[in-house]
């Protein structure tokens, strides 16, 4: 994953900061805009103090006007600038949809290449400490639906840095999905700049009995589930798509061809979601040729409840993931199996308030 000589351990948030800072230093056309990017919190540290280093016009606060501010970013991008727009919560990106879908995603095609929109939209999914129904939503599937958009959802600090650098250098609009639960997760990150290519999934942990695909924060939970499954002598392969549009269906389908079992765990709802897309694409690829069993897990089909006791039911957990995997491997009629306990520290330790 990285060259040891130049690698350090950074948090996901620090990796995002490093990518942003190094690209701003490399290219004066890169700038950051978003509510609170230049405040004392600096967007969970990911934009902290960039205005002091690069000037107030390259890391600036904006009015609470998501629609126009997205359009303004697009307009600046049309003129050759490379804006990065940051949204503390993805729920607010709904206010940007007109500009993202009708303008950013269309410009290149509608004008037959006369225009390009090198825009990055960073959208952060919230969870825990009572985020509730309107601070916890994940809309990556909305963007996956739209031709002309790239959608990345890196899980590791390594991939967060590389994906953001790729996105900033891309001449196309990119939606970068971050999960708030990942910002404090640590990992090995090379010091130098590098790009993570689109459409290349990462096998986080190889295995032979079942393919588990985990999106964004759920990839982390799937790795924990893998460890729980070891007690039942099940060897799970965990795949992180990293890039959701384009999807690396090849890597996932090849894995399912070997294992004959597929569990997709999404950081979002199931209906018309990323999990549906992955499952149907795998079926189109190998269905009929290679029989396989499959299941999807994701948010409960309800708005997110605020109280912790109900919120715990709302999200897939290492336990529910490993149990679903167990059933796929052993069959629905197999005797009940109780997975062990494992802590999801980034969730348990989160105290908000953001």
């Amino acid at each position: 994953m990285s060259s040891p000589a130049s690698s350090r351990t950074l948090t996901y948030g620090e990796a995002v900061f490093e990518a942003t800072r190094s690209e701003m230093a490399r290219d004066p056309k890169v700038f950051v805009m978003g509510q609170g990017v230049d405040d004392a919190r600096g967007m969970f540290g990911t934009t902290l103090g960039l205005h002091k280093e690069f000037g107030a016009e390259r890391n600036f606060d904006v009015p609470l006007a998501e629609d126009a501010m997205t359009g303004i970013g697009i307009g600046a991008a049309l003129m050759g600038m490379r804006p990065i727009q940051v949204h503390q919560r993805m729920d607010f990106v709904l206010l940007c949809m007109n500009q993202i879908v009708n303008m950013a995603a269309k410009m290149s095609y509608m004008f037959a290449g006369a225009h390009k929109v090198p825009l990055v939209v960073r959208a952060i999914i919230g969870r825990s400490w009572g985020q509730g129904a309107q601070h916890s939503q994940a809309f990556h599937s909305y963007f996956m639906h739209i031709p002309g958009l790239r959608v990345v959802a890196p899980t590791t600090p390594h991939d967060a840095k590389g994906c953001l650098i790729t996105a900033i250098r891309d001449d196309n609009p990119v939606i970068m999905i971050e999960h708030r639960m990942l910002h404090n997760v640590k990992g090995v990150v090379p010091a130098e700049s590098y790009e993570i290519p689109y459409g290349k999934a990462r096998i986080l942990s190889p295995g032979k009995d079942i393919t588990i695909v985990g999106i964004s924060h759920m990839a982390l939970e799937c790795v924990r589930a893998k460890h729980l499954l070891e007690a039942a002598n099940i060897d799970a392969e965990v795949i992180d798509p990293v890039s959701l549009a384009p999807l690396d269906i090849e890597t996932i389908a090849k894995s399912v061809e070997r294992t004959g079992r597929l569990l997709v765990v999404d950081t979002g709802w199931l209906s018309c979601g990323a999990s549906s897309e992955i499952l149907s694409e795998v079926f189109e690829r190998i269905g009929g040729r290679r029989p396989f069993v499959a299941k999807r897990l994701g948010y409960l089909p309800t708005p997110c409840p605020t109280t912790k006791i109900l919120e715990n039911l709302y999200y897939p957990s290492p336990q529910s993931i490993s149990q679903a995997a167990y059933q796929l491997c052993r069959g629905a009629d197999a005797p009940a199996w109780q997975p062990g306990k494992v802590d999801s520290n980034e969730v348990a330790e989160f105290r908000g308030p953001f």
């Binding site: 006007a65 629609d67 970013g73 307009g75 991008a77 049309l78 500009q99 410009m107």
Partner: protein, 303 residues
């Protein structure tokens, strides 16, 4: 103005042949606004407009044959047939592509002005929209940001009273667009229809002020759409506006007002030259080919 009028009259003539398989939103009757404003612009100045954009494209100096080929859906069109009438674009003269979703281009224009300021460019942005767009929150958000950052942009509102068939009096509360603009600290002016020369002067003054770095300006230009909201026809059958109101506007044609200021020789010379351009553009569109099937996948992403 004559070129715009004649191109659109030719569109009306050609439309029944079904060679133009695309909605057209004609500017006939409104030509003076685009002509008066764009006369003050350089090629490097950046123009944003709407789906009622033929006049704007032509006034900015957009390529006429490529416009006609675009309407025909041909490969030599300004967007290889992928845009049609509603999304005309000519990057060579900084005619940015027009948008068909009301008010969406306004914030893009403000963003372009932000970029010009960051790039320390001498160019300015001019953003056209109808009064219907000012109903949208995006207009207010955009005006606020343009004023906040003192951006080099002229907002030009073509107030033709109607959003499709909805009259502005049924949509607009309060004292009007000038007051709304001034509330954001943006200097605003109002020019009545049938005052093309005054319009030209006011536009020149506003553009000069924007060039001096005085920040955004707003120009409300009263005008009138002679034809239906969309399509080549008249729309008297819908009876949403009195016939005599439309008749009076047609009788007081801005093109006639401007033409009357010219000597016969000059006017005839201009008309002959523009007739030739229009005929050549149509011949170009007729001769051009349709795009090949493989082009359907081109340009989803910038290369």
């Amino acid at each position: 103005m004559y070129l715009i009028r004649r191109v659109e009259e030719e569109i009306i003539r050609l439309y029944p042949t079904d060679k133009i398989k695309s909605p057209v939103h004609l500017s006939i009757g409104q030509e003076a606004v685009a002509a008066a404003v764009c006369d003050h612009l350089d090629q490097s100045d950046v123009l944003f407009g709407t789906y009622r954009g033929h006049a704007l494209y032509l006034a900015k100096g957009g390529d006429v044959p490529r416009m006609m080929a675009e309407l025909y859906g041909k490969v030599d069109g300004c967007a290889r047939g992928k845009a049609g009438s509603m999304h005309l674009v000519d990057p060579d003269v900084n005619m940015m592509g027009t948008s068909a979703v009301v008010a969406t281009g306004i914030s893009n224009a403000v963003g372009a002005a932000l970029a010009l300021k960051m790039q320390k460019s001498k160019a300015i942005v001019v953003c056209f929209f109808g009064e219907g767009a000012t109903d949208e929150g995006a207009w207010h958000e955009s005006m606020n940001f343009a004023a906040l950052k003192k951006l080099p942009i002229l907002f030009v509102c073509e107030n033709n009273f109607f959003a499709i068939y909805s009259h502005v009096r049924d949509r607009l509360a309060g004292p009007g667009l000038l007051a709304r603009s001034r509330a954001y600290g943006i200097d605003a002016e109002h020019v009545e229809d049938h005052e093309p020369i005054k319009l030209h002067e006011r536009a020149g003054e506003a553009i000069a002020a924007v060039r001096r770095g005085e920040g955004p300006k707003f120009l409300e230009c009263m005008t009138y759409r002679w034809r239906d909201h969309v399509g080549p026809g008249e729309d008297r059958v819908h009876q949403y506006r009195p016939d005599d109101e439309l008749d009076l506007k047609i009788a007081n044609d801005n093109l006639k007002i401007v033409s009357s200021l010219l000597t016969d020789d000059v006017r005839k010379a201009i008309e002959a030259e523009e007739e030739k351009r229009v005929a050549e553009a149509i011949a170009f569109a007729e001769a051009s080919q349709f795009p090949e099937d493989r082009e359907v996948y081109d340009h989803v992403f910038a290369r």
